[in-house]
Subunit: 756 residues, 2 copies
Amino acid sequence: MAKIADKYFSADPWKVIERGFNPAYSRVSESVFSLSNENLGVRGFFDEGGTADSLRGCYVNGVYELEDLPKSYCGIIDKRHFMIPSADWLMTGITLDGETLDLGSVCFDEFVRELDMRTGTLSRQFVWQTKSGKKLRLTFLRFTDMLHGDRAYQRITLEPLNFSGTAELTSGITFDVKHEGRGVCYWHSLRLAADKQSCAVQARTLASGQEVFAAALLSVSGDPVQDEKTAALRAELPLVKGTPLHIDKRVVILFNGLEGDALWQAGQSALRGTERVSLGAALAAQKVYWAEHWRISDVRIEDESGGEDQQGIRFCSFQMAQTYNGGSVRHNIGAKGLTGEAYNGHAFWDTETCCMPFYLFTNPRAAKMLLMFRFNTLPQALKRAKMLDCEGACYPVATLNGDEACDLWQHASLQLQPSTAVAYGIWHYALVTGDQVFIREYGAEMLLQIARFLRSRAAQNPQTGEYGYFGVMGPDEFHMMVHDNAYTNYMGKRALAYAADVIEALKSEAPAVYAALRKKTGLKEEEVSGWRNVSEHMALPMMEDGLIEQHDGYFKLPHIDIHAIPVSEFPLYNHWSYDRIYRTDMIKQPDVLMFLYLYSASFSTEVKRKNYEFYEPRTIHESSLSPSIHSILAAELGRMDEACKFFGFATRLDLDNYNRNTREGLHTTSIAMAWVNIVYGFAGLRSDGGGLSFAPRLPSHWSRLGFSLTWQGRIIEVEMEREQTRFTLKQGEPMDALIYGIRREIGTEGLTVPAL
Amino acid sequence: MAKIADKYFSADPWKVIERGFNPAYSRVSESVFSLSNENLGVRGFFDEGGTADSLRGCYVNGVYELEDLPKSYCGIIDKRHFMIPSADWLMTGITLDGETLDLGSVCFDEFVRELDMRTGTLSRQFVWQTKSGKKLRLTFLRFTDMLHGDRAYQRITLEPLNFSGTAELTSGITFDVKHEGRGVCYWHSLRLAADKQSCAVQARTLASGQEVFAAALLSVSGDPVQDEKTAALRAELPLVKGTPLHIDKRVVILFNGLEGDALWQAGQSALRGTERVSLGAALAAQKVYWAEHWRISDVRIEDESGGEDQQGIRFCSFQMAQTYNGGSVRHNIGAKGLTGEAYNGHAFWDTETCCMPFYLFTNPRAAKMLLMFRFNTLPQALKRAKMLDCEGACYPVATLNGDEACDLWQHASLQLQPSTAVAYGIWHYALVTGDQVFIREYGAEMLLQIARFLRSRAAQNPQTGEYGYFGVMGPDEFHMMVHDNAYTNYMGKRALAYAADVIEALKSEAPAVYAALRKKTGLKEEEVSGWRNVSEHMALPMMEDGLIEQHDGYFKLPHIDIHAIPVSEFPLYNHWSYDRIYRTDMIKQPDVLMFLYLYSASFSTEVKRKNYEFYEPRTIHESSLSPSIHSILAAELGRMDEACKFFGFATRLDLDNYNRNTREGLHTTSIAMAWVNIVYGFAGLRSDGGGLSFAPRLPSHWSRLGFSLTWQGRIIEVEMEREQTRFTLKQGEPMDALIYGIRREIGTEGLTVPAL
């Protein structure tokens, strides 16, 4: 593998720790130290700001701005939306002896920044030594309230070590925040207020017209300070040598569809609501929340590695729970979560293929909510298909609100995988949850419209008569405008067949629902047989030995030794002429291995081996999803060394900044895949063959791996050790599962199976 | 063929005539009625403006604005330049009885607009009937001075038919002109002046900082009128019933690299220079110029068609002579000449392949000037290759100044044909002119750098070991990111071999020049053998029967019946989802037929026939170059009906608005190809085999075709009739040529050869 770790943080099973501040890693740290409660997200920047390199991002899920694009060709979007920073609620200024706290310029020592995953808090401590010789120990603590999506807290502790005196604090709320890439503040303020202990600002975005209310209540009194987009307090802090002084800030940020006076009043009411809860009480509740999370969702690894794997997987699980937990049908999972502005806050096509398994097996309600997001945005997908001269529904490559927001036509128009992924997600959701009601009420209609799209977009190869997709780009975005891409063809084949299955089942089993759906969609019966025909005659270029050609002509592409590419050239997008990445056999992320994983039961181990061996050396993993897929397949093929190597890469992608772009935000989708990596990879879970199957393969440097799963109302605990694996039913009815290919019953008394 | 004529103008051998004004054709007429003297271009808009649909374009060759582009991937340009409208020198307002002349709203009759190709003038006449019942005959005449690139003239004649009285005229110069697509005026004025008979404005572009001086001298006196960017006169015109009153306006527009006071003084001096010449005298000189042009460059067709072909080819020759005649090494040939803002005034890659033959055989000095444009912009081509991670020189797809200005990466980065075209142009220029001095002084260095580029961009197919170009787009822009495109490969093969030939010849024949070139370029000897190796092992996918696959995988593309596409869907770019045009076997313009034509002597008639028969039915001719290539090959294959059908299309592309986009400007490159169509197609001229060869094939509906050619200092007149063709040497030494494959001598006494 051509990528190497850039280790910076200390390993710890429950924490991420930065000892001493290295300005060169400032933005990487900010990303890693991000907090979120699914609704409010905040990067781990310095509360007091300063001149150190920083992206001061406070985000509210679903808040975006709109932008017109230059008129282009048909089918290319002419308007795009993108996440913008919302109110900065951590705004803080501290002055002592006329010196302003700025870690970019003052003298300081004993710097420690810690993310604690048991409490969901970020703390930062250091000793500031002023030019006048005073030493002040400062501790900053913050958290976004997991129990109240619209609340967040900040505590600043000042402990004078060698003096008594006065410091000056400014603290407030400001919408004077610029989108970094565009250098524009998209907010105009509608109303401001500040009194001795609180301040509030209501603001509206310029083009999208979204309104947000943000307010803070402080534990000290001060004088109101306002300007156009900012409301704050300025307070004199009496400091007594050796005595810590706490300043608590309770924050409310509302974005709920209300506007004008109604929003203002709701906001003031919500702010008053926080008065009843001290920061300490909120923090205690927060600890309980996270304890419960870890009780159900923890992955426990005992190993000899110094805890890096344990830290890595906990970091992943922590970030997933922060990013999305099914709290709102209006949200999806941004590629960077709420940790940065790169990718514009957009959710990409990989929600259903990469993130959903984590939720299916830990929080099935959240998985359903993700699919409901797609159902609610079906009208936009229908419109998008029309734009592309196709029928049915084409789901967006990138979106916050359901509209296609990807302004790179080569992705937005050529990548069909968002639509096949939604079909896959529905199929997988039904398999794992058994929720047939969802299929009838929502799934069938989505599948029907996706099938129409996939049928209308398919075409016949005149030489073979087979169907395929011409002019596409698969998940491997290093090959563009290719024909018969194996991933696209196979995913389309399965989606078409499944849609036909569901519609035919509906016809026979729920004729009234079927009739209503036909009426609503104008479905003709011959459409369904048409889908089946295309599905059955879809090209899949497999050689005699089982090797599948990624797309027509792939084998003729010039070979490149990916290990010969200097690390300094990553990410390639930033260093190589754009066109150059498209004309070799180098792969960004695997197309063929991806569908061999997604439809694992449909392919033999031999086919997987053949393709893994061929494609692995050609894959550069410029996508953060790539290593986990490789790890899972490597484990299945018994290549445990490789499985572990790719796993380390996956869980620590951001902690060790493998892609050298963690500064822009976390790779949230990759984080989801890390969980999948463990349960699919090392426990050998497969969920695409009807029931569940396991094939535990404990990495040799681990002594124990434990985690839990939900399955159709059950909770199963899996404890893998060197010699054996123990499956215990913790909730629900006993069930059968295939363990190493043999049908076994898992009950409350537990089932112990010796390791292979 | 799927395209059909939209006939509007009357056929006439020497004129283009519009009888009666149809507002729906307003912009088409404006394009067709464009005038230019290579330096100043002006669309045929109404002098007096008004509310009719119009693009009021006055252009100065080489005047452009610069624009920053959003930062994108590496190798994609971040700045582009584009032609902008310059001073409107026809600015006119006429008021009578308080009614303002506006053909979009007033009553008028007897409208006739005429372009006269014997005088290079545009005239327009009509009778204006005011609401007060007055009838005023108005005649507008204009021309750009072919003898003085910086001069232009306007004459307005007012003849009151039923009254005597006063009309008010405003006439002047304004830089208050907006770029239509962008809606921006890119000029700020630096200095204005107006007195009783003249007015002047000097202005500067906002970003590119180019300065232009424009001034007018009127034959009537008036009161000065100025605003920020406009200087004009307002005059009361005493009208006497039945007596025509002429108002003459002499215009000077300077864009010569001078700035500030120096430019202002040069401009005033140039304006005074026009005082010595009356408009009548300038017009008389203009007539002499055009008479001389037609004496040398006329193509005479006698036919039964009512003169459409004659009109069409004269229109082409007229427009070419207006657009470019080698007057400045800073100019190239814009895709729309100076007739509209579409394509941003850019010259494209087809100058050397499509336009140059016209100049090589009628004005070889202009052909050399076109190549000198490439030599002078070699530094930009070197820089561009670096941007693309390649070596040597990569010439731009679109440019005004030598910098790549195409902001569609899929064209700018994937189309290698600008570079192969320059190499072809040098080769063809040397063949036709025998100018070895040019090759040594300029050609060799360009070829060396082009060869470096083509070597570094080539790669090996791992299955065959052959070289080819991966991830390219040929001239057929309906197939993108293809591999082993036959055009690109073959043109690259020949360019590499020619570069090696030239450098090796230089080494042995002009060692001092060779040594200097090596020193300048750091050429290593093994580079040259490397070019030859790649050239010799370049893939060209030819089937056993001679059919050449346009690119790897082309034969597997879904077939589309191009005749089934409704005319209303043209141009496809405006009606089809952009991605849709790329995934069928439909061809925009021929790749394979193009190089079979360019290197005609290297391919057998059988190969040409096979490929013509295969590709012709798949070609939609969305490029205006396409029909002429087809016509030439059809003629060679004896398919005279098709040759004539494609010829009509080519010469009348704009007169009959075949592509439905003449409103945006003329298809200048296509206009050049129309001349080529006649001499290569119907006279069967070939110039790529060493000497000249002819194979006259007169279209059956023509009784005579006559034209002249220059060849290495000679002038040869060709007169084709039904039964015979007569070749007469009009200047220079007798020469040999192959006539129908037989070597014959052409001398002053003339050679008569019976028709086939």
